[in-house]
Symmetry: C2
Subunit: 195 residues, 2 copies
DNA sequence: CAGCTGACAGATTTCAATATCTGTCATTCG
DNA sequence: CGAATGACAGATATTGAAATCTGTCAGCTG
């Protein structure tokens, strides 16, 4: 909050924007607020981001990237593909659920941001799907999975588990049977992947 | 629209309400509009429905019941369970897609109504899931499917295909690869169901 | 007298005036 | 001279007063 007198960088603006979004929510967070938090005029912010939309998009990308970063470790692991796939899906569900349940207001804020920003979300989904493809391809190589087209299969697995990672279903993640439902879907998919 | 002088029945009120919703949309459709369409005072409407919310719920139920009625024929059929399941899922996807694509405004109206009305939607989903259970149970009996708990499996199949029937994904139903995505998910699930 | 009406209170929505915000750019500052 | 400022025009959001709506009910009507 202290108007540090370091040089103004895109990075610092993004941090301030996240803070402003956290405090004011997506509807009331303004560029003027961000500039005020940094102790500069709002004109300076426009030197680093052409529009408010671009600023919000950059914040959204950062947030999505943090999530996919958490999972890439599992995808790159070297355990049995079947276990790796289960772990990856469970980690994805757990991460989303933690974010949604832990700070519902912030999660709602980012839900608004992602819905503003189809492109960034598309890239994020492409990233996650490619992590999944990597796991499935590994399984095909070891003979644990049968999949004619690993990429299409990864897409199908991602879509079939959508209820457990798509933010539009966040309400349902805290319902009693959620965990059991998740396991049932994953079990069915794992059976479908076996040769 | 003609203020028919038949006796005022719940049925006629529901029809008029659907018409008013179709014309004005969910935000601007008022009980006064419905009464005007029927040529009665709004007080008369309240004789048949305790509140505006109850009236909207009844309209929602009717709409949902029409959809599940379309599918019950397939679920009750006597063909091979595997084909029946594919047909049922395809019919569900086709029906939803037809409704969403054919009259987007009306679909948006009903999307608002369903989101207002968790209970009615819950019953509708329970109905659809029980149709699915029936098909899966038949498959278990003929040996076409392996499912320890047909009801839980039906739930899993329904949830895994959510992207292709849940209204919150309606936007995606008209995208290029939608049909292929649907087939990929269904294929994977069918493989998972085999003994 | 069963069903309908319309006036009413309180809640909600609309609308237009006012304030704030976004994005630009000529000017200032270091 | 490059980075930052702040005044400005047009767009968007806020506000509060006026209009409309919801739900009730005493009384009217056939």
């Amino acid at each position: 909050m202290a108007p540090t007198s370091e040089t103004l960088t895109a990075e610092r603006i993004l941090e301030a924007t996240e803070e402003v979004l956290r405090r004011h929510g997506p509807a009331k967070a303004t560029v003027v607020d961000v500039a005020r938090a940094l102790g500069v005029s709002h004109g300076s912010v426009y030197r680093h981001f052409r529009t408010k939309a671009a600023l919000r998009e950059a914040v959204t990308k950062r947030w999505l990237d943090r999530t996919s970063g958490e999972l890439s470790g599992i995808a790159a692991g070297d355990g049995a593909p079947e276990a790796r796939l289960r772990d990856w899906l469970a980690a994805l569900f757990a991460a989303k659920r933690r974010k949604a349940g832990g700070d519902p207001e912030l999660f709602a804020t980012y839900t608004v941001l992602t819905s503003e920003n189809g492109a960034a979300v598309g890239e994020h989904i492409a990233d996650l799907t490619s992590q999944l493809t990597r796991i499935i391809r590994a399984g095909v190589e070891t003979g644990d999975f049968a999949a004619g087209d690993p990429q299409a299969t990864a897409r199908a697995v991602f879509q079939a588990t959508g209820r457990f990672h798509d933010p539009s279903h966040a309400r349902e993640w805290e319902e009693p049977g959620a965990e059991a439902d998740f396991r049932a879907v994953v079990d069915l998919l794992m059976r479908g992947l076996r040769p």
